[in-house]
Structure formats: C-alpha cells, structure tokens
C-alpha cells in the first residue's frame, strides 16, 4: 500500500475521506429537482425556483471554502429541508367546534392513527400548533374567538376546513346564526367535504396538506378572504 497518497487508505478500507485539492477544482452544483414553487414570487418575492442551491456559496465563499469532495453531507437549500420538516410534523390544534370534532378525535385515536402519517397528536395551545382544523359548524358567536385562535398561531400556519358546515355552510346554510363557510372570515388551505367526513377523509386531506406544504402553495397572505361568489349574483 502506498502511504501518503490521498485516497489510498479509502480504497483499502472503504472509508470516506476528503478529496485532495487537485481533484476538485470547481464546486459541484446539484440541479434543483426537489421542488419548484408554483408562484416564483412566493415567500416575500424570493428568487425563482430555478436558482441552484449553492448559489450563495459560489458568490460568498469565492470558491475557496467550497471544495466538495466525497463528503457525507448533502448540500441543500435550507428552505427545502425546512419544508420537509414542517410537512412531516404537522401539529394540529385541538379545537373541535361540533360534530366533526368526534371524527377528528377518532382519526387521532388507535383505529385510524393519524400519527402514522406524521400528523402529531393534537396540541391544546394555539401557540404550539401549525394547523387549525376547523371541525364543525362555526356560529357567528364563535367566529371571533376562532379568528383570535388563528391569529395566535405562529407562522407558518395552515387551515383545514373539515365538514360541509365549514366548507360552505352545509345543512345549516339557511340558519341565522352560522357563518356560511369559514373562508368568509379566514383563509383556508384544504377543504374536506362530508357531513361528517370519515376519519380517512380527514387523513387524506391532511396528506394533501403535506403535499401543499412541500410545494409551497400554502401562502395565505395573498389569498383573498371573503365570499367567493362574484358580485352581482
């Protein structure tokens, strides 16, 4: 075995060692295939999704400190990793309003275990929650407290409308005391129809929400709040 030559030890033992200076002259740029934003101006008008991950390193480090050999590190954009982390530990808020809350709790307990799909057990405090599952009829009296809950949740946050009552008013659409769809008062990311939806339906909706989080379509600040029916109808 030739001693002193980089790579010889690695060849003998199979261990990973940094490549020598001569073997790597330019940074390895990994093309971005992991995700692409639906809206290129998403997240405060950031760069378009086609920008490579190592763009910063190329400009800041001038190439000197970015010598990538056979390292056991995968360079990636921090936002991409954060999105995967967020999508796979969605902490819903334990706020049941009415009937759908029963199915929501059923989805969390042992028969249909939401925990399997990385939707964590329900949090009781809005300050610890990512997702607001509005389960049940929203009455006008409850609308104020519910918006307050939503505003207490830290960003980034998502909202799931569970059940017909929250999607459109459902069987209580004609009532004098209910809000006809929660999208009149707050942004909604996923609508789950049904009266009530089955627990499997809720889990499917939450899986869709995970997809939405990774694809970054859950940007609620730009979404129009209010009735979706055009004026004049």
């Amino acid at each position: 075995m030739e001693v002193g030559k980089p790579g010889a030890l690695a060849a003998a033992t199979g261990a990973l060692v940094p490549a020598d200076d001569a073997s790597v002259s330019t940074p390895i740029v990994i093309p971005n295939t992991g995700w692409s934003a639906a809206d290129p101006t998403a997240y405060n008008g950031g760069r378009a999704a086609t920008v490579a991950h190592l763009h910063e390193l190329e400009t800041i480090g001038k190439g000197d400190d970015a010598r990538w050999g056979a390292l056991d590190v995968i360079p990636a954009k921090a936002d991409l990793l954060l999105d995967y982390l967020r999508a796979n530990s969605l902490w819903p808020l334990l706020s049941g309003l009415a009937c759908c809350a029963m199915e929501m709790m059923s989805a969390a307990t042992s028969v249909n275990d939401m925990d399997r799909f990385n939707m964590f057990p329900f949090r009781a405090s809005p300050r610890q929650a990512d997702v607001l599952i509005v389960a049940g009829t929203l009455s006008t009296k409850m609308a104020g407290p519910l918006i307050r809950l939503w505003e207490q949740m830290p960003e980034p946050k998502w909202c799931v409308a569970m059940g017909d009552c929250t999607c459109s008013g459902g069987r209580y659409k004609r009532s004098y005391a209910t809000v006809q769809g929660i999208d009149r008062v707050m942004p909604v990311d996923v609508y789950i129809p049904g009266c009530p939806p089955r627990p499997e339906g809720l889990i499917y909706g939450m899986l869709k929400l995970q997809q939405l989080v990774v694809e970054r379509r859950g940007r609620w600040a730009e979404r129009r709040v209010g009735p979706t029916v055009p004026d004049g109808l």
């Binding site: 309003l97 009415a98 009937c99 059923s106 009829t137 009455s139 307050r148 809950l149 009530p196």
Partner: protein, 407 residues
C-alpha cells in the same frame, strides 16, 4: 354599542385603564352590569380574580365558556357563557317539512344522534296517532341501545382524560368506532345517522350490520370488564372523583336534573320505565341507582347502564319479529293540527320535544328540551369550594354535549 363606554381600571392591574374589565376579551355581561347577579359576580373582593376557561379548551367538551371567580386555587363562583354553538335548529325545523326536521335535529346530540333524531319522529307519530310496525320498534330500540353504549364508552374515556389519564379514551374510541361503523353499515351514514323515519325506520337490518353486531357482541362484555379493571380501582381516579361534585336529591329535582346525574342521587327515574314508550315495557332491564350523588357515582352508573343496554340488546335480538319496517304514509305528509309532548331517555337523561302543528306539512314549532342543558346548570351549585383542577372532572362527569345545550 349604545352609549360611549367609560374607561375604567383593569381588574387584573388597576394601573391599566381599559374599556371593559381585562382578561375577558368580550365581557359578558357587558360592563357596566345590568342585573344584580352580574354585579355580584363581576365585583371582586380582595384576593379574588376572574379567569376565563374556553371557549377553546381541550376539556370543555365543545365550545363551552366558563368565567370563573377564583381565590387562589379555589373556585368561588362561576358563570357559564353559552351560545358558541347556537345553530338555530328550532327555527330551521320550522322552515322545512317534518322529514327535514329529522336530519336537522340529528347533529344536536352528536355523540348519540340516534336519540336526537327520534325527537321530530316521535312528535309527528304522536300527532298522526300512528302505529309503528313492531319490527321497526325493535330495530329502533336496538339502534338506540347500541348508540347508548357508544356514548357511555366515550364518557368513561373522557372523564379519565379530564383527570389526566390518556389510555381510557383510546379504549373508549375503539368501542365507539366499532359501534358507529356497525350503525353506518345499517344506516349508510356515520355519526349522523338519519335513520329513523316517521312511521318506521329507513331500511331493514342487513347482513353487514348483523355480522358486525355478532362479532362485537362476542367480546362486548369482556371489553366492559377491561374498562373496569383499567379505572375502577385506580387510587388517583377514586380520590379525584369520590365526594366531588355532590348534589343532593332535593336540589337535583329542583334543578331538573335527569339521567345518570339524577339516578346517582338515588332517584330511580328513567323515562323508559317511568313513562314507557316504544317496546320498552316488554323488555327486562334494571335501573341502577346510587345514593352518593358524586362524580364517582355517576361514573359507576354509566358502567352499569352499559351492562343493562347489553342485556336489552340480547333480548331484542332474540325477540325480533318479522314484518315491515315502515308504515304506508302519503308522500306529502300533512300532520293534523295539535300539540304533542314526547319524552325519551337519551344517554344524558330525559330528552323531550314539544311540537305544535298547524295542519301543514311543516312543524309550526318544535321546542327541544335537552338534558345536557339542565344537567350543566348544576355546575354552579357543585363547583364553588373545589379546586380549579377538579372543575373539569366535575363538568365531564355530567357529560354535557354542547350541540344539545346551544341547539
């Protein structure tokens, strides 16, 4: 917003000047108080403070809000604020016909909706003076008792959950899911069944339901034993329920208590026996009672009632007659004018409905008497003197359902 509000010192911190008393974002009653009771509740002695519980709280069983006046760790007084789930069901029922009222009443008692949907059905049947086929009556009793068991199983889990134990609720939900899936096979709908019809039921027993029922019946009794061994002799559970939330017999009658909270005070009042309806007179079952009147007695009664319900189901399955499940009725059902009161025993107590018909196909008025509402109002008597941590244990031992309370 009739007159301009005067700015007053906050109840929390007198140095802060606020529009309404602080800690309560929407002061109820509006400041300044309008009645004597409000003035008494919202005037604080030295060392007392107001704390707001709900409407978003994991243990209030829905969207109940309770404003508590506390002195240290002790509850001095409390003021429940209702109406966060008011959906105007009674008014909606007047706008649809009698068949619509069934599905509109469904979500009132959303843990045992087979009972709340029976309300317009039984009122209309009484007004029409209708004889329901016997097979339909037996199927109704079967569905009711199954639903009662699922509701009671959840009650036991919730009571333990509010005391800090997580495991029993998982057992409760296993039981509940099994029964609700079984009823879904029968009715086609989960949770809000919409199964009872004026003059019968919607659809006969089917194979899927019966096979699920058989599987469940084979281990139902064992499950109840499991629940018992899980909680019954638990030192913490006993200490936090025994002697707590006691209400005596006279006060229970005065406050219009019904169901297990009433029977826990020693009064064997059960609508199924006191004012028999359906085919309950033909069935054998006991009405378990306790005399303590505390949370533990209520818990014990729920367990015993599950056993009695199993006994009823067993008899119903053995005596199920043949025949039609639906009476012949005109498609446009005009209920003769009149007034009718019906009452039946739901898992929470006496469910009642007072219906007025003016001869059209729509109910003129459907007044809903929900037991949860009357059971809940006793918390004001039970709570003072107890610790904050026990409020939830006492409240959940009354098993209130906000859908029925707020209607």
């Amino acid at each position: 917003m009739t007159e301009a509000r005067t700015r007053i010192p906050s109840l929390d911190d007198p140095e802060i000047i606020v529009d309404t008393p602080a800690t309560i974002y929407d002061a109820i009653p509006p400041y300044p108080p309008t009645t004597e009771r409000e003035a008494e509740f919202y005037s604080l002695k030295d060392g007392e403070m107001l704390i707001n519980l709900g409407p978003q709280h994991p243990s209030t069983h829905g969207v109940l809000r309770v404003v508590m006046k506390i002195d240290g760790e002790k509850v001095v007084d409390l003021d429940p604020v209702l109406g966060y789930l008011h959906r105007g069901v009674e008014k909606i029922c007047e706008n649809g016909d009698w068949h619509h009222a069934i599905s509109n009443c469904d979500p009132l008692e959303y843990i045992a909706s087979m009972f709340s949907e029976a309300m317009p059905v039984m009122v209309a049947e009484k007004l029409l003076d209708l004889e329901v086929p016997r097979r339909a009556e037996y199927i109704r009793v079967l569905a009711w008792e199954l639903n009662r068991i699922s509701s009671h199983a959840l009650f036991i889990g919730w009571l333990a959950l509010d005391l800090g134990a997580v495991t029993p609720i998982l057992y409760g939900f296993i039981e509940r899911d099994e029964i609700v899936e079984m009823l879904a096979a029968l009715t086609g709908q989960k949770l809000l069944f919409n199964y009872l019809r004026i003059g019968g039921v919607n659809g006969d027993l089917n194979h899927e339901f019966l096979s699920r029922l058989g599987t469940w019946m084979s281990h139902a009794a064992q499950r109840i034993e499991d629940q018992q061994t899980l909680i019954n002799e638990n030192e913490i559970f006993i200490r936090r329920t025994r002697g707590l939330g006691v209400i005596d017999r006279e006060m229970a009658l005065k406050m219009c208590l019904s169901g297990p909270p009433l029977r826990a005070t020693g009064i064997p009042y059960d609508v199924r026996r006191a004012h028999p309806y359906s085919v309950y007179p033909e069935l054998e079952f006991d009405i378990p009672t306790r005399t303590e009147g505390d949370s533990w007695a209520r818990y014990w009664l729920h367990l015993e009632e599950i056993k009695q319900s199993l006994r009823i189901i067993d008899q119903v399955l053995h005596r199920m007659p043949d025949g039609p499940v639906m009476t012949k009725l005109p498609r446009l059902l005009r209920v003769p004018p009149g007034r009718a009161w019906v009452a039946f025993e739901s898992p929470r107590g006496q469910y009642g409905a007072y219906g007025i018909s003016d001869g059209t196909d729509q109910p003129f008025r459907l007044r809903i008497h929900d037991p949860s509402y009357f059971n809940l109002q006793t918390v004001g008597l039970m709570m003072p003197g107890h610790l904050i941590a026990d409020t939830m244990a006492i409240m959940s031992s009354l098993d209130p359902i906000m859908g029925g309370i707020d209607k």
